[in-house]
Amino acid sequence: MSDQFNEFDQVFRDKLREHAVSPPNSVWEEVSAKRNYGHIVANRITKYWRTLGTLLLLLLAGGSSALLIGGDEEKVAIESTKEDANTQNELSIINQQYNFKEITSTENNNLSTSINTRKENQLITDVNYESNTSNQIENRVPDAELMASMEAAAFSRPDLQDNPLLNIYISHLDGWESAKPVSFVRYEEMDKSDSKGFFKLKKEAKPLRAGEVEYEYAFPTVDKKPFKERASLYIAFTPQSIGKSMTPEYNVSTEYLRQRAKSETPRMAYTLTANLHYELKNHKFIETGINYTQIYEEMHFEGEKRFSNQYDFLEVPLLLGYEARNSKWGWQIKAGLGLQVFNNYKGYILKVVDDETAPVASPQPDEPLYRMRKSDAIVNIVTNNHELSKNQERHTVANLENKDENPFKTAGVINVHLAAGVTYYHSIRTTFVLTPHYSRSVNSITKGDAGFQERIGYMGVSFGGRFNF
């Protein structure tokens, strides 16, 4: 039965599989007509929709990024402040739309404001404001002219004779006499957000005392500052004086360390800093980046004085700080730790020996035979000259470039940092920072088998600038 079925199937397969019958011409005409230009284009779009979609998304993402990074848009809010404890009045203005500069898109901004009661008569004498009344003010909306003035003032000096009220707003907001756009961003309010989405104003007015004037003022609230606005590059130069503290261990005599201390005189030390400064909430910030420290010191032993040693340290610091400002001037304090990731030493120090054979450092002469001059320092730095003179005996000193003789670590030294100083807000993008800076190595800079411990303390003043991206 099965074979018969197979034969049956085979006959059908042979006779029908390759058989051909010409279709009517109308079929080709239909095919040709349906595959017109529009069909071909649509087909290609369908075929490459993934590629086209990806391109479109990239374009959209790029456009959005450009718009965001452009930084000309600001979310503006009018938020209430209360400076007078007698005032409980509060009103909210929400969802105000602004057009800033050339930006065509408007944003829904969260707005709120308050009525404040202050004795500012002398500043706003030409403002006819409701006062000394018990009138209920309901459903107030922001004055269009006021908003327009604010908008204009955001990008120009606010010496607006025609709107002294606005001057009060601005000077109150940040104490500045000038009002660049940043002056609208109140530092304390940077991280607050108000997600209310409609325009609303309520006030429960109270009678004002004689002589009191109520006014409203506005400043923006940025919902959340983007990374670009929070981050800045901190560049600083810190000339320093250094001090070494040496502690002997078991088999190394204090005399050796005493002689070493005598023989080495630090002459120049400085640190170059390039840090990322990142604003956190509530005025706090963190800083991290790279510190490059260079130390030059004179060696004087065996009767000859010589500027010879050079130490280079690369350090990654992590500092937490607090910064506040009332006007253009502010202050900051920061502290943290730094890890030296690369230390390099050139020159010589007295070799570690026992008491009997300890080399004797030449005493510091009252009138130094050799005084490093600036030109000498520069020549030594440029020529990288850290060689001993011909008169000095090699066997009494350890060559710091020889890893077997060098007692110092090439990495892994941890320093503690503490700095506090003043800041000056020069512009939106630039802030100058002047901070006395103290740091000190927490652990010893010497290797475990060096026989002594040594720590370096640095004290200097950082001259720096912070530059927004």
Binding site: M1, Q4, R13, L16, H19, P23, V27, W28, V31, H39
Partner: protein, 179 residues
Amino acid sequence: MDEKKLIQACIKEDKSAQKALYDLFSAKMYFVCLRYARHEAEAQDILQDAFIKVFDKLDSFRFNGSFEGWVRRIMVNTALNYCRKSTYKYENIGIEDYQDKVVNSKAISRLSEQELLGIIQQLPDGYRMVFNLYIIEGYSHKEIAEMLSISENTSRSQLAKARKWMQNVLEKLKTSNNV
């Protein structure tokens, strides 16, 4: 023009090349469509749609296998889609009474292709699909089950019933011819 150049010209939307390609395969493929369709008009619709797909998707052909096989697969798939749209049913008509006779294959071979096609076209829709796919195209029951979204057992039973149905038709045809 060899087949590869012809295909490449078709990809570039060369109308004359497309016509040449159509002429090359249309007759064979029309018969494929006729086997799956219930009538000529439906076969022509299937052929037309399938050729539009062929030209639309020509650039996805990788020249790894037989181009004719690729075109045939499109024809078959288009025909199956037609079947699905046309609410074809997998029949369970009363063929229990049909006799389990096997018609001599020599007798069948004497029938012309058109006559055999006529018999296939008379098959109920479900039988016809499975018969074509299994007997003519050479797909397995597993493949057919996947293509038609049915179980393998359904495919097997449909084929068995199709065979039975055709045996009876052929038997009747033989009897009437003898008469």
